[in-house]
Amino acid sequence: MSALTSLLYQRRWWIFTVVAIIGFTLFTGEFKEAQTTAILASTLRQSTPLLLGALCGMLGERSGVINIGIEGQMLMSAFTGFMVAAETQSLLLGVLAGIATGMLMGASLAGLSVSLQGDQIIAGTVLNIAALGVTSFFFQQGYTLPGKTPMVDLWFLSDIPVLGRVFFSNRPITYLSLLLVPTVWYALFRTTWGLRTRAVGEHPSAAETVGISVAKMRYLNLILAGAIAGLAGAYLSLEAVGSFERNMTNGKGFVALAVMIFGRWNPVGAWGAALLFGYTNAIQTQFQFRGWFTDHPQFVGMIPFVVTIIVLAGVVGRARPPAAIGQPYSRE
């Protein structure tokens, strides 16, 4: 067998999956440009918060801290972003407030799990419960935004049919999230920060003996990760919906963890995984347009969760997480 055919053979399931998805998309879109574009654009929209959440989780876990508080970070950031934007009537200030909130939440996760050496799962749960409680308690109806973050068409690129419309006609945070994929990849694998982060997440005492402060790296990473989660929160309230709703994250922070694992703790992989999960959400809407399964909508609503279970139980099998995740580190 030649190298090419053997490569094709090795990747046969991936190729099969991609072909099946393309075929299915065209079919559900009735082979029309406008509808296919709509499905793909919706996929990207749905995937953005998952991608950002997964990148947040990744920075934490690569440095050895499990973050199950992404959900809470996103929710709290969505809330403060919305409130600040509504009070000041400035979307930019709103986004910045969301990011700052995420960073603060990241710092408190670090405080609980690094400084106090608490259980990381419990620390993350604390963030989730606190965020849900605080945002539900303080949220009041009646605030309005000056609008959503504006749509930006990128020159002629946005005129390309289907893919151009999908990728180059978006809002700012979506572009930013797409930029973050290569940025985080480069940072993790090509910079001293990335090398140290990976070392701290795999073997903290080894990092410590060569003079790297495990605590500092974990604080830094969790705060940076918090900024990304904050961006995800701002995306939800200021870019996707244009208002705040109770529990508007609705489990996205947890799905983001699945996305991170499916993407094998790699930004590029996580992007692919986020798109897959986004797609399962996007076709639901299309099912409704086409009038499929209208008698039993709950089965359509199950699709993302079924995919999550199949992916995590079956496909991911051999993924290897950073060795030191979940363990508090102390020098003596």
């Binding site: 090509r190 910079t191 001293t192 920060w193 990335g194 090398l195 140290r196 990976r198 070392a199 795999e202 073997h203 005492s205 080894a206 990092a207 410590e208 003996t209 060569v210 003079g211 790297i212 402060s213 060795a323 020098r331 003596e332």
Partner: protein, 510 residues
């Protein structure tokens, strides 16, 4: 070695370090000259590791001072030590398994293009050049977890040299090496000393001290009990200083009275965790009343063999017979009930439950049977009586039988396992690395127990990476190489060198 007027490369003056009520180092004076190989000798728990961790900035001394090249220094982290050109090769390698050799070596001192962008190409070249210069060649791009232990150690040494270490601390560096690798390491250390590096060499192996050290400092119970040139003493003298009483270095044992075969293994095949063949058609027979020693470099299938015998690993083919009973396919408990005692290689993981009490650990292989349990209700009285009896009999040093097991020292943990396994009237005993990481006094005890078990007519299979242990205890020896026994014979028919050769290459004439 030099006249005392020279400035020592590193010096500890009156260092005291406490952990709560325990004094790990008490008023230690310790000095190492430039270009000297200085052995730091002592039992486990004597405070050697604490002392070097203070020198390396991992611990902060409660009292006393550290001087480097005559200058008083304050060290709060390994970073400070590395900045002052102190390097350390840790007992448990401090390497990140999934990173490359080069990434591990430069970690923390990475060459960069600008603003934090790694320059890996430059790093590869530097590592390669460094390896050539010191005779420590490694593939700079290899992933560390794929490398054999001896090579990983080279990476550790190279890492210190990369940081231009003037003082190199090695914590029990030969524990994991074959005799040939050990000889090579000792040569490298001599070469480094000749280049002016001060070397602190922690060990409890007297032979190596005699072979390589210019000077020895002996520690016992947190204090320095002597400093001496090896030429002024011998192994027995050093052992006595170390333990505080005279020690039997070589167990006296009578002729083995070997009986019928108890454990017979035929063409056994088993896979390792990565699904590669680890035990590859191995056959052997262990007779009643003999110690059969398996010598070999770690990773040649010993672990998988032991796990297959004890039911912890599925076999692919072949048979394991205990007298007339087939053991393959049986659960670990069924095998234990058949009369197989097991001293596991990793006692923390497979032998003991750290948070549970000493008493519970002592009945871990029979807690479910009368008199320790009746109709699923634990009989605490019977458990305590048995535990107290075993603690006394086997001299386990513990505050009480109710203390959590993890508070015990390595040697005492091993005694707990020995007490439990040796007291169950087994027909067959498999002991894997039974003296790893325990002190000389406990080693002596465990060795004596193994010989006593043999003399009681039990078939003993001893698996050890310590060639000295295999040679002094075994009646017959098998050398394992790539999952097969490449040589089996009576212990007195082998020389140390022959076995070393077989371990390294699988054949006697390499």
């Amino acid at each position: 070695m030099n006249e005392n007027q020279t400035t020592p490369a590193i010096e500890a003056i009156g260092v005291t370090k406490r952990f709560g009520p325990i004094v790990a180092n008490e008023n230690i004076d310790f000095r190492v000259e430039k270009g000297q190989v200085h052995a730091l000798l002592g039992e486990n728990g004597a405070g050697k590791s604490t002392l070097v961790n203070v020198l390396f900035g991992l611990y902060h001394a409660d009292e006393g001072e550290i001087r480097i090249a005559g200058e008083k220094v304050e060290m709060n982290s390994p970073h400070d030590a590395i900045d002052r050109h102190i390097g350390m090769v840790h007992q448990h390698f401090q390497l990140v398994p999934v990173l490359s050799v080069t990434e591990n070596i430069v970690l923390g001192h990475e060459p960069t293009k600008k603003r934090g962008i790694l320059d890996l190409e430059k790093a590869y070249d530097e590592v390669e050049a460094l390896g050539k210069r010191y005779g420590l060649e490694v593939d700079p791009r290899a992933i560390v977890e794929d490398l054999p232990i001896g090579t990983q150690q080279r990476v550790e040494i190279l890492r210190s040299l990369y940081r231009k270490a003037d003082v190199l601390i090695l914590d029990e560096p030969t524990a994991v090496l074959t005799p040939q690798e050990t000889d090579h390491l000792l040569e490298v250390l001599r070469d480094l000393a000749a280049e002016g590096v001060a070397i602190i060499f922690i060990t409890h192996k007297l032979r190596e001290v005699m072979a390589v050290a210019d000077h020895v400092t002996v520690m016992r119970r947190g204090k320095v009990v002597g400093a001496i040139d090896p030429s002024e003493t011998d192994q027995a003298g050093l052992a006595e200083m170390m333990v505080g009483r005279s020690v039997i270095l070589r167990i006296a044992k009578g002729e083995a009275k070997a009986g019928a075969p108890v454990l017979t293994i035929d063409s056994l095949k088993a896979l390792d965790d990565r699904a590669q063949t680890a035990v590859d058609g191995l056959s052997l027979a262990v007779h009643a009343g003999e110690i059969f020693g398996i010598a070999g470099v770690e990773g040649n299938g010993q672990r998988e063999l032991v796990e297959a015998i004890t039911g912890l690993r599925q076999t692919i083919s072949g048979s394991i017979m205990l007298e007339d009973t087939e053991l393959t396919g049986c659960s670990p408990r069924e095998i234990s009930e058949q009369g197989v005692a097991h001293v596991p290689e990793d006692r923390e993981k497979h032998g003991l439950v750290g948070p549970h009490s000493v008493a519970d650990n002592l009945v871990l292989n029979r807690y479910f049977k009368a008199p320790f349990a009746r109709r699923a209700i634990r009989q605490t009285g019977a458990i305590k009586d048995e535990a107290q009896k075993l603690v006394d009999e086997y001299d386990v040093r513990t505050a009480s039988i109710n203390s959590p097991l993890r508070t015990l020292s390595g040697g005492n943990k091993q005694k707990v396992i020995a007490a439990r396994e040796f007291s169950q009237n087994a027909k067959f005993l498999v002991a894997a690395q039974p003296t790893r990481g325990i002190d000389v006094g406990s080693i002596e005890f465990v060795h004596q127990q193994l010989v006593d078990q043999r003399d009681d007519g039990i078939a003993v299979l001893l698996v050890s990476a310590e060639l000295d242990e295999i040679m002094s205890l075994s009646d017959r020896i098998g050398v394992i190489y790539q999952g097969r026994l490449v040589a089996i014979g009576n212990a007195e028919d082998f020389t140390r060198n022959q076995i070393g050769q077989l371990m390294a290459s699988g054949s006697a004439n390499a």
